[in-house]
Symmetry: C2
Subunit: 431 residues, 2 copies
């Protein structure tokens, strides 16, 4: 039956917006923003996009006008009343609001700040200058917009049935992965795929598939706040590299620099009253981080293993807890680096029963369109949005994988010295 | 946007009808009905359902009440004005109506006649008694209803995403077959899958996929009139076994019996003015039929190969044309028996360039859900609706495959003698 009102209303759309809500972002951005707002409201930080998949010339594929339209639309967004209610309603185990009133009222008035867009050598230079607490909020929507615009450009002009079969293939692929996941004992897995997703609706489908195919408690939830709210699953996440990177950039001397990663943890456990205690140890090398960690770091719930070979990283975590007299079986390792089903199975076979395991499954959950278009034109790319400087000081990341390192070379050298990072194994960055 | 009117209207549905139009049938039923109406309006005939896949107890799977509701709903259907217009508008190569005014005005007043339904040993005994021209019209809707009800019963209670993935898998499977078809030179293929389809909407999807994936002239059209009308593709079909079976049953003596299959062709070429001349030679054995055929049978456009091994049947057709001094490259062989992609490729490799080839692709186009549910519960079954008697005389079918033979054993013996049918190779009936 023709819904005349709908048809006429639809004609009034100026664009088909990719990001339609400020909640269409990862939960950990809000958690980090709350800490930034509380402790570092005056710090300014620049964020910038880097496409590590240099062979894909995004600026040739994605029209600049369309990109500006989408970014401008994202800047027009404000939280709705219902979204604020949802934010306030999230609590730790039934008590204690995760996001306090100061942060929520700041967020209620928030709009995404300005952006700068230039093109160089087939790539977009998209940068965000301003207060850290504001620029940090661009990371996820900027990446989601770029990735979805690229997919739209590749798919433009395909036939209706061809498109339907393309999605049928992608759905079948996701479901076959879920069927393999069903066989893993004591599985705990979450969607971490917002930033590199094929598109919002596709991520939303993937979350529903995980919810139906795995159910609770195996499917823990999603990092995407909007989808968590709509699908009534848990929003999940803790913190990311930008915290130690900015803390390090602001350190006045080498001693403060060496201490910076632990200072982050100290602030975090205070801000979240002992909740959300997942260590992300690899910003300046996991081995050194663990070797020099104060004993209380071993009290944290778990460790996220994000850039080292996961088997090596998992064994290292177990040794760390054992060395500190903790039982690894009480501890949680969260794997989140370029996961796909075979990798998850490999990790599970190795570690199940030896410690608690969680998976943060990103790009190859929400954007596994590999091979579904000729020449891999729909394959996901490794595009990131990272903090570049803080109060004018360049930021540095070493990671456990030199391919993911970032920063001016003299600063990288200094950080390697301060954190005692020697040779590292290079691993290809899948996504 | 909520379409209130639609929601309220939807609440008024009593059932979800499977057959929603008298055009939701195969084109050749109308062509045959026109000849029956013109030449044999007084002949009565009984049609009945047989499930050759005895291991599937349809009556245990499909509720009798639901079956009656669907059959009753089909009986309530009448042609709409637009459907009549479509029927009148079908012409041979731009001139000459395929369906004449007498038939169309009969069809405008037509309703499906009564049915008789009983259950025996886990199978439905569904029979239709009455004038041949009326009972013949039940074949396709009765089969489509049974098959779709079975699918609905198997799928009841599955989750939304599980269902979506099931269809995603089936779509991918169809599309991969179409991609293989794209590689066959001079392909000409049509959908013949109405009666054993998974469901109407699924057949409709398959036709759209064939149209988009192959296009004209490779995709010739569909046997389903309703889908042909809606999707603006050609309706295709000529005639079936029921014509020689009834002509044979009505033959007063052995001489008339031996002549019956050729009498059918004589009437047919008169009724269709030399169009639609595809011989279906296997009702009482292809070899004898061709050996005894008058020379003018070799003037017909082509032969449909429906129950013999297709390679053997194709070679036999070529020999027949050669023996009669016709060039097989001017002739058309239509393969229509249990086809699937590998079989089509095998036939094409053998005969391409040696004669014109057409494929009538049925069940494994519109109902290839094999293996998509545990225990093959969604696999297609070989259920048929055949004419059982004419004016009280039992009908007989021998076919080239004894598995498909039908009739009382004394009559079968008589027919075998009259048509000189010796030993035949038994082949499993796939679908």
């Amino acid at each position: 039956m023709l819904d005349l009102a709908k048809r006429v209303y639809d004609h009034s759309f100026r664009i088909d917006p990719i990001v339609r809500s400020l909640l269409d972002t990862d939960f950990y951005k809000l958690l980090m923003a709350q800490t930034i707002l509380r402790r570092h409201p005056q710090v300014s930080a620049t964020f910038g996009i880097t496409n590590r998949t240099a062979r894909v010339r995004i600026a040739d594929e994605v029209d600049e006008g369309l990109l500006r339209e989408q970014l401008d639309h994202a800047r027009s967004l404000r939280l709705s009343k219902g979204e604020v209610t949802w934010l306030r309603g999230n609590v730790f185990r039934g008590q204690g609001r995760i996001l306090g009133p100061e942060f929520v009222s700041w967020f209620e008035n928030f709009r995404l700040p300005e952006y700068e867009l230039a093109t160089r050598d087939g790539q977009y230079e998209l940068t965000f200058h301003g207060p850290w607490v504001e620029t940090t909020m661009w990371e996820v929507p900027a990446l989601a917009i770029l990735n979805e615009l690229r997919a739209r450009s590749v798919l433009r002009g395909l036939g209706k049935l061809t498109l339907q079969v393309l999605y049928a293939r992608a759905m079948t692929r996701v479901w076959e992965k879920i069927e393999r996941l069903q066989r893993l004992p004591d599985l705990s897995i979450a969607d971490f795929g917002t930033r590199r997703r094929h598109g919002f609706l596709w991520q939303d489908w993937c979350v529903q598939a995980m919810a139906e195919g795995l159910g609770e408690p195996r499917f823990l939830g999603t990092s995407n706040c909007l989808i968590a709210a709509r699908r009534e699953v848990e929003p999940v996440g803790t913190n990311a590299h930008e915290l130690p990177m900015v803390y390090a950039a602001l350190a006045p001397d080498d001693a403060a620099l060496a201490h910076a990663p632990y200072a982050v943890l100290g602030d975090w456990q205070e801000d979240y009253a002992g909740n959300l205690r997942i260590v992300l140890p690899d910003t300046y090398g996991t081995t050194g981080f663990l070797a020099n960690a104060p004993d209380w770091v071993a009290d944290w719930t778990g460790i996220r293993i994000d850039s080292k070979d996961p088997i090596e990283g998992g064994e290292e975590a177990i040794r760390f807890w054992q060395d500190h007299g903790r039982d690894p079986r009480d501890k949680l390792a969260i794997f989140s680096d370029g996961l796909d089903i075979a990798e998850i199975e490999r990790i599970h076979a190795r570690f199940h029963g030896r410690m608690r395991i969680g998976y943060g499954w990103g790009t190859l959950l929400t954007n596994d369109f590999r091979g579904l278009m000729p020449d891999g034109r729909l394959d996901p790319i490794s595009v990131v949005c990272k903090v570049m400087d803080a109060n004018g000081h360049p930021t540095v990341k070493l990671s456990d994988n030199p391919t993911k390192a970032q920063g001016p070379s003299d600063e990288v050298a200094r950080y390697r010295r301060v954190f005692g990072v020697g040779d590292q194994a290079t691993m290809p960055v899948v996504v």
